[in-house]
Amino acid sequence: MSKAFLSVSNINKSFSNVKAVVDLSFEVHPGTIYALLGPNGAGKTTTVRMLLDIIRPDSGVIAYNNNSNGRINPAKMGYLPEERGMYPDKSPLDSLVYLAMLRGMKRNDAKQEASKWLKRFDLADRENDKLQTLSKGNQQKVQLISSILHRPDFAILDEPFSGFDPVNQEKVIKIIHELSADGMTIVLSAHQMDLVERLADEILLLSHGTAVLQGKMKDVLKEASSALKLSIDVAAINQQTLAGLSDICNYEIADVDGNKRITFFLHDENNVGQLLKACTETMSIHNINTETIGLHRIYLDAVKKHKESINV
């Protein structure tokens, strides 16, 4: 494994009586895509602000390239904040050139690069229009460009897919892959688990400021792939049967097209035969479906488990 580009060791941050981040440690390696996940209020934004040196941790160390002052040259980093904001009375070109110049680019270079990126996002003919005349999706494109225009070594992308249609989401995935392949180290935060699953090399799941799941994406998925999601659509539920099965595995019930859908989350040790036998004997089954468990389910389970452990 290469030397870490970013190393975070035991950082803590509290606001008044609220612990926003608790004893958090992780490492991000050069050229990788690191996903910072978690429900709202989990501590992602506070962590990102500490990585950006906007706020300082109460304790712990943040080091870029082994430099423990917690700072990185702004010219070498890009940031797409969750709270989007640009200058609505300015053109995309002017706004992009301004933000790129703040990160050390020369005016002409910034202009050239901005035009190139705007063209790639099909905004070449709108580059001199006022930002407020652009659709929300197009404004998002401009915002995303502003974080990568200057070709930083390191970028933090908070919700990069927000506001994009599926076509543009695919475009963003492609671009992030390209940037990573060119050596850019990326920390991203997103709520679209299927997209994160396709992009990230490593993940960190936060809940109430604490890391509840951490590791390489392939390892996390491998561990979960031994698990199975079994869905059974039935006309009516036999509560007694389900009560008997609750010792075997977790399940959820939902209404689907006039039927009840029972979804069981199974692991290797679960006896599928015993479960199916119990269901077929006591309920009228219309449909059976199986799928392996993805990041979305892993995320929900990990957060639920953590909440139960701290009695929230």
Binding site: L52, Y79, E83, G85, Y87, Y98, L99, L102, R107
Partner: protein, 397 residues
């Protein structure tokens, strides 16, 4: 490569500088300043273009003077002519019908109110007064000699403390007006710049690229330059307007007798610059605290600089008053008051330098605490900092 500081300053300056608007505003100032100083002469000039015929129905039989034959033409008439005269008045063929009843009473019927009617009043007064003097057999020369007002010439004993001329007063009024314009423009630029960035959530993106200190310094530089630009262009255009209109209308020269040295101009410029920087630091700090400009209780505090400069207008009547002297040293008022004392009162150079130094020290100190407030307030969303918190930050800065 330009530094981030200059990049921010340039951005802030050109956010508000629009060529079209600028040219339109300057043209407007040119015309309005010219009109406000030479409007009277301009109106007279146009209304004097034609002679006005006045029909006089004179029961007293006064001798009509030929004071300005090109201005008024007297036409003798009788009471029986009145209906025909009224017809001519309705057609605006004559300016008015003047009825002189006795030496104290006269009336005039006109089509509508116009400026020449004011010019007729003193002529008529003189006419009727002379008639009364004749009736009373009083010599005109004796009467005017008796009514001559007593002359009182004031001579100042203190050296150098010469009475202020009208042109000096006018100059000071213009300087204070321009300073007011400067702080008012600063208020509007800074308020919009800072609160809109906070509301548009640009803050995090900028702060991740540059330090809050660079950001606030760039803002101060760019927006102060914008305010100074407003002051300078307005001053040049307004003075130009006054001079051009005065030439066109033969109005008196308002700046005649004013002797301003380069040093005086330079020092006034230094006070204007330092004062603007001082108040702009204050304004940036307050604006950063505002969460919602529509509901914030902190917005009215931003008008404080306007009041502080307005105080200087009271110094014009008594520039050497002890209170005025004290105000000329206080950084919150010295920007306006010291220039008034410099032009209209007596002030030693050491006092001017000391006052300017105090103002510069205040700028340095205000910038320091403004930076602290700005840095902490700009990332505070959803609530405004309490004054208690702000005071704590100031003490920490």
């Amino acid at each position: 490569m330009s530094s981030p500081l200059l990049t921010v300053a340039r951005w802030e300056f050109f956010r508000y500088f629009k060529w079209k608007g600028e040219i339109f505003t300057l043209l407007l100032i040119l015309v309005l300043s010219g009109l406000s100083f030479s409007g009277k002469e301009l109106i007279s000039k146009f209304s004097s273009a034609k002679s006005i015929e006045i029909a006089v129905i004179d029961d007293l039989g006064v001798t009509l003077p030929e004071l300005d034959s090109s201005r008024f033409i007297w036409t003798r008439a009788n009471q029986t002519d009145r209906p025909a005269l009224m017809q001519r008045l309705g057609d605006q063929d004559i300016g008015g019908i003047l009825s002189i009843k006795d030496s104290t009473n006269s009336s005039m019927t006109v089509f509508e109110k116009e400026s020449w009617q004011g010019e007729l009043q003193p002529i008529l007064n003189q006419l009727l007064l002379d008639k009364r003097l004749d009736s009373a057999e009083i010599s005109h020369a004796d009467f005017y000699q008796l009514n001559k007002p007593a002359a009182l010439e004031i001579q100042i004993h203190q050296q150098g403390n010469l009475p202020s001329s009208k042109s000096e007063k006018l100059f000071v009024m213009i300087v204070l007006g321009l300073m007011l314009l400067g702080v008012f423009m600063s208020f509007s630029y800074i308020f919009i710049s800072v609160t809109s960035e906070k509301q548009m959530r640009v803050t995090e993106q900028v702060i991740s690229a540059i330090s809050p200190q660079t950001w606030i310094d760039g803002k101060l530089l760019g927006l102060t330059a914008m305010s100074l630009k407003s002051i300078i262009t307005t001053a040049i255009t307004a003075v130009l307007g006054i001079i051009v209109f005065a030439k066109l209308t033969n109005a008196p020269s308002y700046f005649e007798g004013f002797e301003g040295s380069i040093i005086t101009f330079g020092l006034i410029g230094a006070f204007a610059l330092a004062g603007l920087l001082f108040w702009n630091c204050f304004l940036v700090a307050i604006a950063a605290m505002v969460e919602d400009p529509n509901t914030s209780t902190k917005t009215p505090i931003m008008l404080l600089p306007v009041l502080a400069v307005s105080v200087a207008f009271f110094a014009i009547s008594e520039p050497n008053n002890i209170v005025v002297q004290i105000l000329s040293f206080l950084p919150i008022t010295s920007m306006g008051v010291m220039p008034v004392r410099m032009v209209m009162g007596t002030v030693d150079m050491w006092q001017i330098i000391a006052s300017l130094l105090l103002l510069i020290i205040a700028v340095v100190w205000t910038r320091k605490f403004a930076s602290k407030i700005f840095r902490l307030s700009m990332l505070m969303y959803g609530k405004e900092p309490q004054w208690r918190e702000v005071w704590k930050w100031i003490r920490q800065s």
